[in-house]
Symmetry: C2
Subunit: 248 residues, 2 copies
């Protein structure tokens, strides 16, 4: 098992890459993704779950809009997980998650996810380490259920930004009317817990790694979008899908 | 691990028992159950899942009506699982089950359950042995999730009748207008698969036994109802529940 240490992973694209070139590549991938998703939907054999996690300001919404929002919305659904409701809290933590697992042929995107139950909850000590460990086991079992029993392919992305980049983005939110609504005074408080967040994220990556996480350098949007589009493209082309014949 | 062999277990009450005496005991238990369920609901800390399985004619509906239907319906819900719909089939087999897991304070009854996915499906070879084994693992993981992460207490009852008793009851259904609607020509076909059913049931009891199954001798309704009411009573009295104070 490879041990992930976030400090050793750059939050920026490799210097030798050309932004323009990568953007062109991404555009081409996005065009193909649209067709691949159509095939996935038509064949209705596999399903895809894309989990997106990252600190505030890491660009989760942007990825969903620019990469995943490019496909036919009939076959792609997004579920954003916020703080659990009283009804959700009266069930096990995976209850609200399982309901939105993708059906065959669908791509389901989770903007935040069941992982919050071992991330923010741990940082704020709403859940102790022993409970967190048990939750990790339950998460692994749950992801295995989806993979083994519904041909669900899971992609897990962590949008990796630097604390400096985050600060800049959060400040921007406060100034820009179109972004201000995303801002919450708590965001800055959360930012102060950066190091603890990194610790619990690492623990999560190292314990819930079937399938493994992709740590996406996310300080630059063009590179982040390229990585995510590429991975989804690679997954879908690897499925050996065929259009089914005429309806019987 | 104790190995369950259904042929060695009687389908009838022990001979020394007095029917009238047992019925009086059951009535007393049912009265107390009503109060215990009220306390469970008020405390909203634990939840209870009652799984009822059994061959056609084993009296699942009767138990639900006479034992479990005695409590306040606000805190007791019944979900009957039939053949899966196309939407349900487009998800993993536990998707439709997890949705109806009990929230804190509730008693949830499953009339048939996720176990059908390793019972009828196996008998008819809709699922091979390898898939069945994987499903058993998934079932154990799922039940562990409910138990560990939502204080859910699971009672699993198999209503054990003899093939002779079944035949008599199925014939009755065909004659009685009030029961005829339950009858389906397929029921008799299924009955011919008795021995195979017993094999897959035994395999299920021996592999999915956390918590263990209760094999309920079910040829006589009065005894079956006594056993199920007693077990639920024992579970609830063991929870050390308290009414919470006034709302804060």
């Amino acid at each position: 098992m490879s041990h992930i240490n976030l400090k050793e992973i750059s939050t920026r694209a490799p210097k030798e890459l050309d932004k323009k070139e990568i953007k062109d590549k991404t555009d081409k991938i996005l065009q193909e993704l649209d067709e691949l998703q159509n095939l996935l939907f038509a064949e209705a054999k596999h399903s895809v779950l894309v989990v997106i996690q990252g600190m505030d300001g890491s660009g989760k919404d942007g990825v969903i809009r620019n990469v995943l929002g490019n496909m036919n919305p009939q076959g792609v659904t997004v579920k954003s997980y916020k703080a659990p409701t009283p009804e959700e809290l009266s069930h096990d933590f995976l209850w609200r998650i399982h309901q939105h697992a993708p059906s065959k042929g669908m791509i389901q995107i989770f903007n935040r996810s069941h992982y919050e139950d071992i991330l923010i909850t741990r940082v704020h000590k709403w859940c102790d380490d022993d409970t967190a460990k048990k939750r990790m086991i339950a998460i692994n079992d749950f992801e295995q259920l989806l993979q083994e029993h519904n041909h669900t392919h899971i992609l897990k992305f962590y949008l990796h930004i630097s604390p400096e980049e985050q600060e800049e983005r959060l400040r921007e939110r406060m100034k820009d009317e179109a972004k201000m609504w995303k801002y919450n005074e708590k965001d800055l408080e959360e930012a102060r817990l950066w190091d603890i967040y990194m610790q619990v994220y690492e623990d999560c990556f190292n314990n819930c790694n079937r399938p493994p996480w992709t740590i996406v350098p996310a300080d630059q949007n063009w590179y982040k979008e390229f990585i995510i589009a590429s991975q989804l493209h690679e997954l879908l082309t690897g499925l050996d899908m065929k259009f089914p014949g005429m309806k019987k």
